[in-house]
Amino acid sequence: MDWTAIRLLYLSELRSALRERSVLINGILVPLLMYPLMMWVMFSGILFVTARFESFASRVEIAGLPAEHRGILDSLDEDGRTGINEVAAPPAGAASAYREEVEERLLAGELDAALIFEATGDPPGNAAVSLLSNGSSDRSRSARGRLERALSAERSAWLERIAARHGLDGAEWQVFDVRSNNLATGRQMGQFLMGMLIPLFFVIMIANGCLYPAIDSTAGERERNTWETTSTLATRRLNVVTAKYLYVATMGTVAGALNAAAMVVSFRSFLGPLFARLGGGDGGGLAFELPLGSLPVLFLTAVLLGALIGAAMMILAAFARTFKEGQSMVTPVILLVVFPVIVLNDPGMAFTPALAGIPVVNVVLLLRQAIAGNVLWLQLGITVLANGAAIVACLWIASRVLRIEEIATGAFEGNFFQFLRRQLRPAGGKA
């Protein structure tokens, strides 16, 4: 190994990467901006939609409201967005005609919802209530919700009035009261939410960061015909490949680290205020802060994943002759990596030493724990060993692959699986 040559080649790869638009965008810009932006768009969209829904003025009609329940009108009046048209109960014979008329107005959009009371008198003041609405209209759905809430409030208020009339005082009627007391601090809640989301995007971004450099430094180089120039350099091919590999791993690591930083920042600047607005108060005191102890773990996992995904992608990309081919061959690695992460997104999953033996999955679980403030040393050790072994295995395969002349010059026709088949055949079988 000639480390001077490797260093030179590595630096020149990095330099040209920084001048390549697609590498820059995918390795640096997207991890930095995309998810914060997406989160912002998504959450301001949610806010906008809920605000619109809330702000609808409802036109409702209430027919035959018993005197006992006039409280409904007050609770509907509270938000000032409900226009109430109160009518007397239709005479006995005209009830169904009235209903049909209301249904027609609902369908025509002239009315948003209607409550029709039909007095039953048992107990006094009781009535059967019909709530008519049009489920194909957003406004009507919003009005229906308001009427349902008002009615249910009135029902419990009435029950309480009945209880009072029957001599049950406040305490007796109340029986007991329940209060939930969440002992998790805002910081812990913030870490919990971050632990659910950050590892997922972290893995995707590292894979994305590796993708372009891996293809560009192999297939891309072949396409630009610079591969021959590189392979005639006065250094062993192993050094060239090592430098390229280090470059790919670096880009992946950088993308991951940048993304994690951007995620934390956007959690603080978008999600915090959003929860505050949705919660109507101080945002549940949510605080999005990474515990200091998680930073070394974060960095370690970025390096491990960058090295592993980079190696896996290099193997596949080595077979491609053009950038496009490289892209279609390497995409499965992204899927392979993202799959377990999405599938395992279960907050209750415990990080057992056995799970720590599965590469990628262990990184996600390790990271989730670290963000929540626990560093599990045994699992961390197993994670490093398992990923290290996977990296070594990938590198071994990569070196076997690139040692073959045809692949290095791009004359090899076929893909990784054809290569495997050929390797597994007895030595004499090569045609």
């Binding site: 194909s136 029902r155 329940v178 209060r179 999405i342 997104n345």
Partner: protein, 691 residues
């Protein structure tokens, strides 16, 4: 156009794709497996989590306090009672407890430090109590806590302490709390019965929900919200497989030049490429939808609740027809991007933002309460999406459906033409689509960018007005709009170093022009009123708007304020922005007739409310002619201000009235008066365009 040529080209594209197994596998086949699988596994994970939470044993502890043994005993008793209810529910299979969980609770002795025990998950819920509500000694009050029941004087409050960020603890608290609530309802019922009230509480005010819309209509709303976005996404994903190759890939491989030297015309090539993109996009979309439906039928992936995938045949045909221009629009824009990029890689990079824009527009039907009868009808794709939503809920607003279709089709045609132009090979061969103006960035560049600037300005205004809504004072709204126009004009002039005097036509008009303005204003008002009457047959003016206007400029607003905000400000700033900057930018691009129409109608569109567009477009046209005839912006400013003032006056002052029932000769007279006014305006600076 030659059918044989086009079909040969399409056949070639499809054959190329069919012989590219890698692309087929990774772009077509893999997603067909991956997405359902991911969906399935995710729902499996959720299900398993649910199962795990429901089948485990949770631990709880009740605080011991020797000083307050009575309350402790009470709390324990309530809890045991509540948990007994949980047990009964599990066996009784009652309808009102859908989860009917098989959870078990186990009481453990209260630990010394229950917080530490909760942290370490030795304990899931810690139960304490407070005597009465008002004693204020609750140091653990957390913002996440909720007080249940009514205010009053509760005998005892049970406090459930837990950790919301720990899955088991969070679940245990939920179960326990629901159990307590159920048990309280039961106790109340018993106490009421004991006090002599016999009727069961569920008989009080029984509610029956009656749905007037049909099942198709309600599920049509759900479907209509997302249908367009899904279709657009699938078409984009499918179309981009061919589109990257269509021009950029061919350019890179050098086959495009071969193609360009054949007898195929540019239009034939673009048509063929569009057809290839559409074919593949359509085929992959159908495949994907069939795939999802298949998995749902097989119950491998759960279908969304309340969604009934039944569309009446007539509506389905209409939707197909409706989405046709959208499909062409998508394929044309992909093709345009492909044509503008030099390599496959670049095309791919540029696709992402294009897709985001389309998805954002296609997601507009998600907005609750958005109606086709609004400014949205002029936004391509979004208008079709909203139209589709209305059709699916059973509303057929034919004139606006036609308008939406026409707008989208026009946009598709414009883009298709742009991609024909992208094939004019200068750009392909000089490898740089920049020219002198692009590099110097000076005034010469502005005419080419004017469309972008005003489109952005329009989008800004649309977003701002949609959000500002009713809450804001009308005067403030106008002032802010005018500030936006002024700032935009200033920004453009500074950015392109435009000569101010020439751009804004700041010249003295011929004196007779002022007389022209005096004649033109009433005639213009009459004509604009006619146009509004005509348009109101299709788009009636909403009453809310009239009310809002009356409120903003009602009798309690001083006259000088009304004049200032409604006449003078728009007269200055709208003129600077539209008859100044916009007109200057468009001048070199169009002949006189088109210039007047485009500049005038663009002005109309900035009056975001749909029903205002026709009238204001007419005013825009007249003002553009005034500027071009007189060579000066000042008569147009005066005209605009007077127009607004008189229009407002006619609403407030008895003596100023437009004829209630104008007849045809009113309009003939008005037209003649306008022509006379324009004659008077002609002067030494009359612009070249009108000579």
């Amino acid at each position: 156009m030659n059918r044989r040529t086009v079909s040969a080209l399409v056949g070639n594209d499809l054959r190329q794709l069919a012989r590219n197994p890698r692309v087929l596998v990774f772009a077509v086949a893999l997603p067909l497996v991956i997405w359902p699988l991911m969906w399935f596994l995710t729902s499996l994970t959720t299900e398993r989590r649910q199962e795990r939470l429901e089948s485990r044993t949770y631990t709880y502890a009740v605080a011991e306090d020797p000083r307050d043994a009575e309350h402790a005993a009470n709390a324990r008793a309530w809890l045991e009672r509540a948990l007994a209810v949980v047990g009964e529910d599990g066996q009784a299979d009652e309808a009102d407890t859908p989860e009917a969980p098989a959870v078990r609770f186990e009481r453990v002795d209260a630990p010394d430090d229950f917080k530490a025990a909760l942290d370490e998950e030795q304990l899931h819920v810690h139960v304490a109590w407070e005597a009465g509500a008002g004693d204020g000694s609750n140091e653990n009050v957390d913002v996440d806590s909720e007080t249940l029941g009514n205010a009053g004087d509760p005998a005892q409050r049970i406090v459930l302490s837990y950790r919301a960020d720990l899955d088991a603890s969070d679940a245990a608290e939920g179960y326990l709390r629901r159990a307590l609530e159920r048990s309280r309802v039961e106790v109340r019922e018993k106490r009421l019965a004991a006090a002599g009230f016999e009727a069961p509480p569920e008989d009080l005010l029984p509610l029956e929900r009656i749905e007037t819309a049909s099942e198709e209509q309600t599920s049509g709303l759900l479907l209509g919200r997302i249908l367009t976005a899904i279709i657009v996404m699938m078409m984009l994903a499918g179309g981009s497989i061919v589109a990257t190759d269509a021009l950029a890939g061919e350019k890179e491989r050098g086959t495009l030049e071969t193609l360009l030297t054949t007898a195929a015309s540019r239009i034939e090539i673009v048509t063929a490429k569009n057809l290839s993109i559409l074919t593949v996009a359509f085929a992959t979309s159908v495949l994907n939808i069939a795939n999802i439906v298949l998995w749902m039928q097989l119950d491998v992936i759960p279908a969304p609740a309340g969604l009934k995938l039944v569309i009446p045949v007539g509506a389905a045909m209409l939707l197909l027809f409706l989405y046709a221009p959208a499909a062409v629009l998508l394929s044309s824009s992909l093709l345009l991007v492909s044509g503008r990029s030099k390599t496959y890689k670049e095309a791919q990079l540029l696709f992402a933002p294009v897709m985001l824009v389309f998805l954002a527009v296609a997601a507009i039907p998600v907005l609750p309460g958005i109606a086709l009868r609004s400014a949205i009808v002029v936004v391509p794709i979004a208008n079709l999406g909203v139209a589709a939503r209305e059709i699916l809920t059973g509303q057929y607003d034919w004139p606006l459906i036609a308008a939406a279709w026409a707008v989208a089709a026009a946009a598709a045609a414009v883009l298709a033409r742009a991609s024909v132009r992208a094939l004019s090979a200068e750009k392909l061969i000089t490898a740089s689509d920049l020219d002198a103006a692009d590099l110097t960035g000076g005034p010469a560049l502005f005419p080419r960018r004017v469309g972008r600037w005003f489109a952005a300005l329009w989008a800004l205004l649309l977003v701002w007005q949609l959000n500002a809504g009713g809450g804001i004072d009308g005067r403030l709204l106008i002032a802010i709009n005018m500030a936006i126009f002024g700032a935009a004009a200033w920004l453009i002039i500074a950015r392109y170093r435009l000569p101010v005097r020439e751009t804004l036509s700041l010249r003295a008009p011929p004196p007779a022009a002022w007389l022209g303005v005096l004649i033109g204003v009433p005639a213009g008002l009459l004509l604009a009123d006619g146009v509004v009457r005509l348009a109101s047959l299709a788009m009636p003016i909403p009453e809310e708007w009239i009310e809002a206007m009356a409120e903003a400029f009602g009798a309690d607003v001083p006259v000088w304020q009304t004049l200032f905000f409604f006449a003078i400000l728009p007269g200055i700033f709208e003129e600077i922005a539209f008859r100044g900057v916009l007109l200057h930018g468009l001048r070199r691009r169009f002949g006189p007739v088109r210039l007047v129409l485009v500049a005038g109608i663009a002005f109309g569109f900035f009056h975001v409310d749909l029903f205002r567009i026709p009238g204001t477009s007419l005013l825009g046209v007249l003002l553009v002619i005034a500027v071009l005839r007189s060579g000066s912006i000042y008569p147009a400013m005066a005209w605009h201000a007077l127009h607004n003032a008189v229009a407002l006056g006619s609403a407030r002052i008895e003596h100023i009235r437009l004829p209630e029932q104008p007849t045809w000769w009113h309009y003939v007279l008005a037209t003649l008066a306008i022509l006379a006014a324009f004659r008077l305006m002609a002067g030494p600076f009359q612009s070249r365009e009108l000579r």
